[in-house]
Amino acid sequence: MTSSRILTTSKIALAAVLAVGGTQVFAQSATEAELARRLDQLSAELAAVKAQLAQMQQQRATTPEASKPSALAAAEPAPAPVAASEAATVLSSYGEINYNRPNKASQNAQADLRRFVLGYQHRFDAKTKVVTELEVEHSVTSSSDPGEVAVEQAYIEHQVQPNLAVRAGLFLMPAGLLNENHEPPAFFGVERNFVETAIIPSTWREGGIQLVGNFDNGLTVQGGISSSFDLTKWDAAATEGAESPLGSIHQELALAKARDLAVFGAVNWRGMPGLLVGASLFTGGATHGQAAASSRVTLWDAHARWTPGRWDLSAVYARGTISNTAALNATLVGNPTLIPKSFDGWYGQAAYRLWTSGDYALSPFVRVERFNTAKSFADLGPGITPSAAATEQVVTLGANFQVAQGIVVKADVQRFRENSDANRLNLGLGWSF
């Protein structure tokens, strides 16, 4: 399949997704900041897109190529003409290469192919598709190399009604602004922000089933049941739990303990062009009957993004709580990293499209974020209860430079208020299609 063919098919698929009110994932993976604003506008012009889609379907149905069934479609007992004509497999990919140079410890500077992702979407018919992503982190994965290979997404989505889809499999959780939209051109800064990595784990996915409803008033509602976290693998002797409490106990559907499940939901409103306002909630058991005490992880967030003119403004607040931590921590006392009772963080970010020429676009930005991965601990008694961690504040100042649609060069500096040894310069190259 040639790249032009892929792109053409992608655009058709994009329009189809919007028209039937389906998932945003594919649309998001094919766009970046600029396209994201256009998508918001397109959402507001849903009726016009529907009309265009209908016209395209009619045109394709009359071409000889479209009438030729695909291999998969031919296997169907009685494929509907329209379904056969829409069968399409689309390749997608994104990647990022980052360079980090600590100000005070240049000997620790690192360059890393942070992630390289290949994905495909295959549409079985007009209503049903599979979406997958396979990721390699840190270039090389072997028993003696630091890399990791992971399936980030693998789900089936079926359109039940024009405004209602059901999604099942391994999917990204609808939380914050970044998790479902994590391709490098889609966010500012070389590294993903801390709130959406340390508080909301990134990239956070669970196995389960969810309903996705898109309504003409710009409202998208998602909800379902999924696998949950695993507190029984909390490593109190390690520091990972202090860096990202939920990141250290996520299961990623890898032989995931599944006695305890979670429920989740998210609401996003795009009723005004350029504006997105939303919130999410996740709550699930996390001890799976394997600890003396049952515990529940709850995570919620509120987020907003507004893109008036050349501005791109966004903010996220996220907060997580873990119940019954006193009982769980009683078996871990004295270790350096006990399970926090609560953790939270927020950021505000402003970017401005300063200069454009053709596809070139330069967008400086600044982001201020404050987060605390151990904001409180349950009382264990004097001398044993850990102190809450200090709230970290990070200011990131930099710019994204769009070289072409889907390709971005980034540079920024980060200053940490608490851990100033982490102050650093970051450079990055990213792409997505």
Binding site: D230, T232, K233, A236, Q290, A292, G334, N335
Partner: protein
């Protein structure tokens, strides 16, 4: 059976080794409840062999002689090493360790980061419970049989000889090598099947199950045990429940060199040129080229450690209090544990040749101190840790 399954049946559990080590993954037993199921015929036979003194040259020593159930299957006395030989007149070379919680130990190997790990006995020289179980029978300072043939001959006259033949064939005693192998297999099976060897029935286990509470002192001691800036015991004796729900064995099966003081009560130490170098000098000589491992001994489990009456490979200390005090004051007050040189200086690490002093762990808590520094644990804190260690005894009754 063996007079000292000690040197023999040794492997882990006896002494206390608080220091930090490598590795870190606690091998664990999934059998977290002491459910009583009948022993198989093979295990039942193994139990008989385990308690049979007739297979020793002295006729007075069995496996159970040095591995007493009421002492957590370690020795029940404070001898630095148990007595063996044809007349029980010979002293062993190392203390008799507990043989509980060994079912999931592995053969000796180097972990990915180079940490020596696993194996049975204090120096990891055997690769399985079965292999380990056979050694004391022919050890001259233990059960002191001259050969495996002599062991099998004694076995063929045991009260359970017919049972042995029913299980392994009427002609089994004519095949001496096979008979010896079947005997050690039965011993291994006994240790694997009888839940007393992996009961997970301590107060700490009940605490993990949410069925018991630790007292304030025990909880303080537990915190000090885990705290990497205080006891740092958990660095080598992991305490946390594993992610599969199994309970920790309180050993990472690694090795460490603690610079234990020489024990004058060991007869072999009458010769000032004699040193027990542990891992690098073990039988077979496979580690002979690893001078950096000289002085390293296996990290034992701390389960039932409070039942022990001597600690460390040479039985140098006879109370938990003394053992823990050594850990935290070895470097702050070395004069308490080592003799003085003629010039009044402390002859530190006196149970190792000078060239191996650099092998001693001096970098990790609680050893990273100097004379004049405060010990990592105060006297009161040591008492707290001991209170916690006492919760690791099997057979807790509410």
């Amino acid at each position: 059976m063996v007079r000292r399954l000690s040197i023999g049946l040794s492997v882990l559990l006896s002494a206390l080794v608080l220091s930090a080590c490598g590795g870190g993954t606690a091998v664990s037993d999934v059998d977290t409840a002491s459910t009583m199921t009948p022993l198989s015929a093979q295990a039942s036979l193994g139990e008989k062999i385990f308690n049979d003194t007739s297979i020793s040259a002295s006729g007075r020593q069995s496996c159970a002689t040095c591995h007493v159930a009421n002492s957590g299957h370690a020795a029940d006395n404070d001898l630095p090493a148990q007595m063996g030989g044809a007349g029980l007149e010979l002293q062993g070379k190392r203390s008799s360790p507990s043989i509980r919680y060994l079912a999931t130990n592995s053969a000796f190997h180097f972990a990915a980061d180079g940490t020596p790990t696993g194996g049975f006995f204090w120096d990891g020289r055997t690769s399985s419970l079965q292999d380990q179980a056979g050694r004391p029978f022919t050890n001259p300072v233990e059960m002191a049989n001259i050969s495996a043939s002599e062991v099998v001959d004694r076995l063929s006259h045991a009260a359970y000889a017919d049972e042995f033949k029913r299980l392994f064939g009427a002609d089994i005693f004519t095949r001496q090598e096979d008979a010896f192998s079947r005997m050690t297999l039965a011993l291994q099976q006994f240790q694997r099947e009888d839940t007393i060897f992996h009961a997970f029935s301590s107060k700490y286990d009940e605490f993990l199950r949410g069925k018991a509470s630790l007292s304030d002192q025990e909880l303080r001691g537990f915190a000090l045990f885990n705290n990497p800036a205080k006891g740092n015991c958990a660095a080598c004796h992991p305490s946390a429940k594993n992610s599969d729900g199994s309970h920790a064995l309180f050993t990472d099966f690694s090795y460490d060199n603690l610079g234990i003081p020489r024990n004058p009560d060991l007869l072999q130490n009458a010769d000032p040129t004699s040193f027990d170098l542990g891992l690098c000098a073990r039988e077979g000589g496979d580690m002979a080229s690893r001078g950096d491992l000289c002085g390293a001994f296996k990290v034992p489990s701390l389960r039932n450690v409070a039942l022990r009456k001597v600690f460390f490979h040479n039985g140098r200390f006879k109370s938990l209090k003394d053992a823990l005090t050594f850990y935290v004051q070895r470097d702050t007050n070395p004069e308490k544990f080592y003799p003085l040189n003629a010039d009044g200086t402390v002859k530190k690490f006196d149970d190792l040749p000078t060239q191996y002093h650099a092998n001693v762990n001096t970098t990790e808590v609680p050893y990273n101190r100097r004379p004049g520094d405060a010990p990592a644990l105060s006297d009161t804190e040591i008492d707290d840790v001991i209170a916690f260690l006492q919760t690791l005894n099997d057979g807790y009754k509410r």
